[in-house]
């Protein structure tokens, strides 16, 4: 199968491509862009007039809810949502039921995902058995089964000795440890940022210090063990500042933020909007501005959807009892574009945060369109406005704080390895 995508505006941040170029695909790989290769006979010509063509998006956190939580979402529904959102590679955290702590579970998930023939799935293995924070998992076996790193997801790891040993062990094999920094004791019982809004609404707070205390511990252990750590979902300005200092010291650390945290803050909870019950909590406006700036200046490496589909029944509860999380796969692109526009950053910077940068976090040669690369491509109309109508989302999770909001930037076609896996009518 040979494909010629013509008249599109090509953005490949990694290779510094930003202009009107045709792109040529053969046998699932990028052949070249710009000039048509000699003797290239396309089986299909795709007219991308008015569209931006970029590497397929890479999402550093998407919960697919399988195995165990199929009532919330299934692989089928969420993989369809991913490609509808232009995402061709995604990382899923290990907090399934049972958690991804055994190679067999990981192999099954990889197999199920692959047989759907849509986005590529890279699971994170559980850092500790059953995510209980007591015994480390068979990390090397899990890596062989397909895990790209090891994580506690949102499960607490209270015992710092276990954390220390887990980081040492991971460092032995040069695995990356993915940690969402939150001190379990300081966060105990909390459901919202410990600030003005939680105080007004009478919600139990999670102080910003829960993040910085945990980061200080982790960074100390990074120095001690040499482990590579990826900080997931930073939520505070202080966290960004600590990350900046750690990077300046040359520590092997990276970080992401949720695309929700790039736009929303505690105020958006309004009168108990359970769609704004997220993990980590939406913090102050000042924190949000710090995250946005940190993403812009590269301190924060990438932005992710933090996709967490939740069924309606689990959201129609008083705020504290409502299941945290928001659907995000189909909103990652437009919300990232919105962030870049508001920050006066070029389109290529927005694209970089969801392609080349997360590829770099993962240590993958992906998220770019160099000749020979798998033809994972996203074609989108950067100007098209569309209204977020929950029922129209492909994801089984309809829960989003952006319900009813008009966003700009709509995916029109997604290719994985040269196959069209999504095409909007």
């Amino acid at each position: 199968m040979k494909i010629h995508i013509k008249n599109g505006y090509l953005v490949d941040p990694k290779n510094g491509v930003d202009g009107q170029f045709d792109i040529f695909v053969a046998a699932g790989k990028v052949v070249s862009f710009g000039k048509e290769p000699d003797g290239f006979q396309a089986n299909r010509i795709i007219d991308a007039t008015g569209l931006t063509v970029c590497p397929g998006l890479i999402d550093l956190s998407a919960r697919l809810r399988e195995p165990g939580y199929e009532y919330m979402a299934t692989l089928e529904s969420e993989m369809a949502a991913a490609v509808a959102g232009g995402i061709t590679t995604l990382v899923c955290p290990p907090d399934t039921d049972p958690p991804l702590d055994e190679p067999g579970l990981v192999e099954m998930l990889k197999y199920r995902a692959k047989s759907l023939n849509q986005a590529r799935v890279f699971p994170l293995g559980a850092l500790t058995q059953k995510l209980e924070g007591a015994r480390i998992t068979e990390m090397a076996e899990l890596r062989d089964a397909g895990c790209i790193g090891f994580s506690q997801a949102d499960a607490p790891l209270v015992d710092t000795q276990v954390l220390w040993r887990a980081m040492q062990y991971a460092a032995t094999f040069d695995f990356t440890v993915w940690l969402r920094p939150q001190d379990a004791h300081l966060a105990k019982g909390g459901v919202a940022h410990d600030g003005e809004v939680a105080s007004r609404l009478g919600l139990a707070g999670i102080p910003a210090s829960a993040e910085s205390v945990a980061m200080a511990t982790i960074l100390t252990l990074v120095r001690e063990t040499g482990a590579r750590v990826h900080f997931c979902r930073l939520s505070t300005r202080t966290g960004v500042e600590m990350l900046r200092a750690a990077k300046a010291d040359g520590l092997p650390v990276t970080a992401d933020i949720s695309v929700h945290a790039a736009h929303l803050c505690e105020m958006d909870i309004g009168f108990f909007d359970a769609n704004c019950h997220l993990i980590p909590p939406l913090r102050s406006q000042r924190d949000r501005d710090g995250l946005r700036q940190g993403l812009a200046d590269g301190t924060v490496d990438a932005v992710c959807s933090d996709h967490a589909p939740v069924d309606d029944d689990a959201k129609f509860l008083p705020f504290a009892e409502a299941e945290p999380g928001a659907t995000g796969l189909e909103l990652l692109l437009p919300l990232t574009l919105k962030w870049a526009r508001e920050m006066n950053l070029p389109l290529s910077t927005a694209i970089a945060k969801i392609t080349a940068a997360p590829a770099c976090v993962l240590g993958l040669n992906a998220g770019n369109l160099a000749p020979g690369q798998p033809a994972d491509l996203t074609l989108f109309d950067p100007d098209q406005y569309w209204k977020i109508e929950p029922h129209a989302l492909k994801s089984q999770g309809k829960n989003t704080p952006f319900s009813g909001v008009e966003l700009q930037g709509k995916v029109r076609m997604t290719l994985v390895e040269g196959h069209v896996v999504y095409e909007s009518v």
Binding site: G195, R200, G202, F272, D313, P318, A320
Partner: protein
């Protein structure tokens, strides 16, 4: 952010919180309550305003006093009152909050009076019910207890006449108190120029000053020259964690005694939302003393709840 308790005409559809209620609306409730009260003997009149209406007291959390005063208020309005102690029945059988509400709606309810342990529960129910049903928040978690806040305003107005020249101190466990939050919203809306909160740092929520109050940690300074002292209930379980070391130390530094009350203005009144913990937050000499208006609060609570329910039902006398 639109206020979910007002309808399109700006009328009160539900009473969920005092936050965002216009001053005129609060005054209207207080004026209406006054009409239900005999000015001489403070007796509450019985009126036929809500005849034929069904009011469900929906208590997901145990309460005797609040439920009883709501029940009396509804009966004084000639409504039919159904008391449901839901905590002990359906939710323990796994029925969701909203399923319970749906079932009761099918039983021809006109109004729900809701008490729930979770902040925001009343908002959730109000968003969910059919448009002809009214919801009164009788206390949700730490968030709000608007009828208590209103009856406290009624009490202050009764004894002090005006709000614009007052200093009010709220003392105690503000962190866990829905009453304090409702009082602060009401006092600031009604134009009280100086609202103080007095508590150790462990019992104050983050950023409380953003609600328009002045924070004191020293009770002796905080009580100086105030017109109204509102004591908050301190639950015994607060002593079990890291919030407070002991009831004795708390009483020593934050309990109201006659000595400390002497720092307030000579005609200062002492209020307490009840139930009191004598010897923990308030000394019996004060609770039973000449400046205490604690029992008057209870009586006024009936009139204020009548006012709220009659205004919600759209058939108030005023």
């Amino acid at each position: 952010m639109n206020n979910p308790q007002l309808n399109k005409n700006g009328e009160m559809q539900h009473l969920l919180t005092i936050e965002g209620l216009p001053r005129g609306m609060i005054n209207h409730i207080l004026d209406t309550a006054e009409n239900f009260l005999n000015p001489v003997d403070r007796e509450v009149k019985k009126v036929p305003l809500l005849r034929g209406k069904a009011i469900f007291n929906l208590f997901f959390e145990p309460s005797t006093r609040t439920r009883t005063t709501f029940e009396i208020a509804a009966k004084k309005l000639s409504a039919d009152v159904i008391n449901l102690n839901v905590g002990a029945s359906s939710t323990s059988k796994g029925e969701t909050l909203l399923d319970t509400v749906d079932n009761l709606t099918a039983m021809q309810a006109d109004m729900f009076v809701v008490r729930h342990a979770q902040s925001g529960a009343a908002h959730l129910i109000a968003r969910h019910v059919q448009p002809h049903i009214h919801v009164v928040n009788a206390g949700d978690g730490r968030h709000a207890h608007p009828t208590q806040g209103l009856l406290d305003m009624f009490t202050i107005r009764y004894f002090k006449k005006e709000f614009h020249n007052l200093r009010v101190a709220i003392v105690g466990d503000v962190l866990h108190s829905r009453v304090a939050r409702s009082q602060i919203c009401a006092l600031t809306t009604l134009g009280v120029p100086e609202v103080r909160v007095i508590a150790p740092k462990t019992l104050l929520p983050a950023g409380i000053e953003r609600m328009g109050v002045q924070v004191y940690h020293d009770m002796l300074q905080g009580l100086k020259d105030v017109d109204v002292v509102i004591m908050l209930r301190l639950q015994n379980e607060r002593m079990r964690g890291a919030l407070l070391p002991s009831a004795q130390e708390y009483f020593k530094y934050y309990g109201l005694t006659l000595d400390k009350l002497a720092l307030a203005k000579p005609d200062a009144i002492v209020m307490h939302p009840g139930p009191m913990n004598r010897g923990v937050e308030i000394d019996s000499d004060v609770a039973d003393g000449a400046q205490s208006v604690i029992l008057a609060q209870v009586t006024f609570g009936i009139a204020v709840r009548m006012a709220v329910m009659s205004i919600l039902a759209g058939s108030h006398a005023a």
